[in-house]
């Protein structure tokens, strides 16, 4: 906008502040609830000022579980979520980097066929194929373990696409100079292509970590014992029927804990993340 009207500036800040307020309000309430006792919450309406039970609640949640409905220690669930998210992020990035490298830098029979096979996976999220994928996992004996949690979710091609787009923008002469210098394809990959791709890898890491951490439907189906629940499942299970019996303070503490790692990843890597998100969808 060109006009610098005072009124417009003020309106802009007002709207943005309002937006931030709306966005942050649920989180604030959650935080407050996590610092109070169960009884304080049940006396609706709950006070909007933080209570004094922060350490108590978090300690209980982490080590003793969130409510009568689910006695799984939150610490364990956070661990499961962490391993799953890291496994998905790292696994996906690794196989996508080498696939994209092969597709862009080599010419070989069936190349286009393989490319389209991988591209097709972009179109179908895991929710669409849950029942048969469950059967496959069951047959492979991967139920209720990390393999089952991680492997089906690294099948989609978003990372391969991003890396392919990026590799296509790397100047040809770089590869030719490396070839003349004596570098074979893998040396080129590790000493030149990868260092140039760090921004894209970082962005992909953020996106995939969050994707992995926030998975719900698939872990719901594939895990059967409490010690393999990721935390997003654990929270839902804590909410037994009827609010009165729930220890909402512990549930909210768990919710806060569940939000922290992905939020940290996003905030710390914000710049790469935004850039990567936009590049992915081109």
């Amino acid at each position: 906008m060109i006009e610098r009207r005072r009124g417009f500036d003020f309106a802009a800040h007002l709207v943005l502040a309002l937006g931030v307020l709306i966005v942050m309000f649920p989180v604030y309430v959650t935080f407050v609830a996590s610092t109070q006792t169960a009884q304080q919450i049940e006396q609706a309406p709950m006070s909007l000022a933080p209570g004094g039970h922060l350490t108590d609640n978090y300690r209980t949640a982490l080590f003793e579980g969130g409510s009568f409905a689910s006695r799984a220690p939150v610490g364990r669930m956070m661990y499961v979520s962490l391993v799953t998210a890291l496994g998905i992020a790292i696994g996906k990035i690794a196989i996508s980097l080498i696939s994209a490298f092969a597709i862009v830098y080599f010419r070989f029979p069936l190349r286009n066929f393989f490319f389209w096979m991988i591209f097709v996976t972009l179109m179908l999220p895991v929710e669409v194929r849950i029942a048969p994928t469950y059967a496959v996992i069951s047959n492979l004996g991967l139920l209720n373990n990390f393999g089952g949690l991680i492997l089906p979710l690294i099948a989609s091609a978003t990372a391969t696409f991003l890396f392919r787009q990026f590799f296509l923008t790397v100047p040809d002469e770089l590869a030719e100079a490396a070839r003349i210098d004596g570098a074979g394809p893998m040396r080129f990959f590790f000493t030149i292509l990868l260092p140039l791709s760090t921004t894209n890898i970082a962005a992909m890491f953020v996106i995939q970590f969050i994707y992995g951490w926030n998975q719900y439907l698939w872990p719901l189906i594939v895990t059967t014992s409490e010690d393999m629940y990721p935390i997003v499942i654990g929270i839902k299970r804590m909410i037994g029927g009827g609010d009165a019996a729930n220890e909402w303070n512990l549930i909210m503490a768990t919710a806060m804990l569940a939000m922290i790692p992905p939020a940290l990843v996003v905030i710390l890597m914000q710049r790469w993340f935004v850039k990567g998100l936009i590049e992915t969808e081109k």
Binding site: G19, M117, I130, P132, N214, K236, A263
Partner: protein
């Protein structure tokens, strides 16, 4: 697109694509194929009796009131989520593009919720609107609105819409902001010199130039509303009251894993697959036409 500089090796490229291909075949093509196969079978929960029934599962679905209702709910839900999500994010993006002071703080605060899992978003909003101890539910009752989404189907729908939109604001915001910043300043300045005020500039120049982004986000939001909202529904309403918020993806899960009607669930999966593919292809075609590299 072709690269001129290629390496030569008879075996290396195959070795490099092998891991991804293996995963794709085992965890994507095989299950997808199974879904197609199962959708034309009638089998009991344990698979001991299997009967080929052609398209019967599909026709049964289209004659099933519950399924049709689910379709309608999903359609309403998706449109509500997509439209409100886009509108709110667009407004925020427009203003965020305009301010200079504190821009980074606003952006960070509006972007980080991308990290929140849909499941958790559901739980947060459930807590806010809990009929007995929700802060907002209580506030509403003081102004005369009786909030009980456990009993009221419309309120139930409203709640999951709010949770879903809240979750999507960040994502839409990022893209709208990028889209706005990609519009050359010179165009806006030319319009201003031509005499167009801010509202007219927005309507006749900015919004049309934003249309590829808008269309892309529309499709993404629809796909999100179709699938990723499963967690929200499961956390907040479990499809209830009754079947009032049982969106299609929830029904697939319910019929397949709770009711154990595999054939029907598979058929529903196939229908969902078709919808997504259509949406994706549409988006690809449309965006490819309008966007130049």
């Amino acid at each position: 697109m072709e690269k001129r500089a290629v390496f030569r090796s008879p075996w290396l490229p195959y070795a490099l694509v092998a891991p991804q291909l293996a995963i794709t075949i085992i965890f994507f093509f095989w299950p997808a194929g199974q879904a197609l196969y199962q959708s034309v079978l009638l089998q009991d929960a344990f698979g001991t009796s299997v009967q080929f029934v052609g398209l019967e599962n599909f026709s049964a679905l289209f004659n099933d009131e519950g399924y049709i209702a689910s379709f309608q709910i999903t359609a309403i839900f998706s449109i509500l989520v997509a439209v409100s999500g886009l509108a709110v994010s667009l407004v925020l993006a427009v203003f965020a593009d305009h301010v200079i002071k504190g821009a980074l703080a606003y952006k960070t605060l509006l972007i980080w919720p991308y990290a929140v899992a849909p499941a958790i978003a559901g739980v947060l909003w459930l807590f806010l609107f809990s009929p007995t101890l929700g802060v907002v539910a209580h506030a509403l009752s003081t102004v005369g609105v009786n909030w009980n989404h456990v009993l009221d189907a419309n309120q139930s729908l409203a709640l999951i819409v709010m949770a879903a939109v809240w979750k999507q604001i960040s994502y839409n915001f990022i893209f709208f902001l990028a889209g706005l910043q990609a519009i050359p300043k010179s165009l806006i300045e030319a319009a201003a010199i031509d005499g167009a005020g801010p509202v007219r500039r927005f309507a006749t120049i900015i919004f049309p130039l934003l249309s590829p982004t808008t269309f892309f986000l529309l499709v993404v939001n629809l796909v999100f509303a179709f699938f990723e909202t499963f967690a929200i529904v499961d956390a907040v309403t479990q499809g209830g009251p009754g079947q009032a918020t049982s969106i299609l993806v929830y029904k697939v899960y319910h019929d397949g894993f709770k009711a154990l009607d595999l054939g029907s669930s598979a058929a529903q999966s196939v229908i969902l697959m078709t919808i997504v593919i259509t949406l994706t292809v549409l988006q690809f075609r449309f965006v490819e036409k309008k966007v130049s590299y």
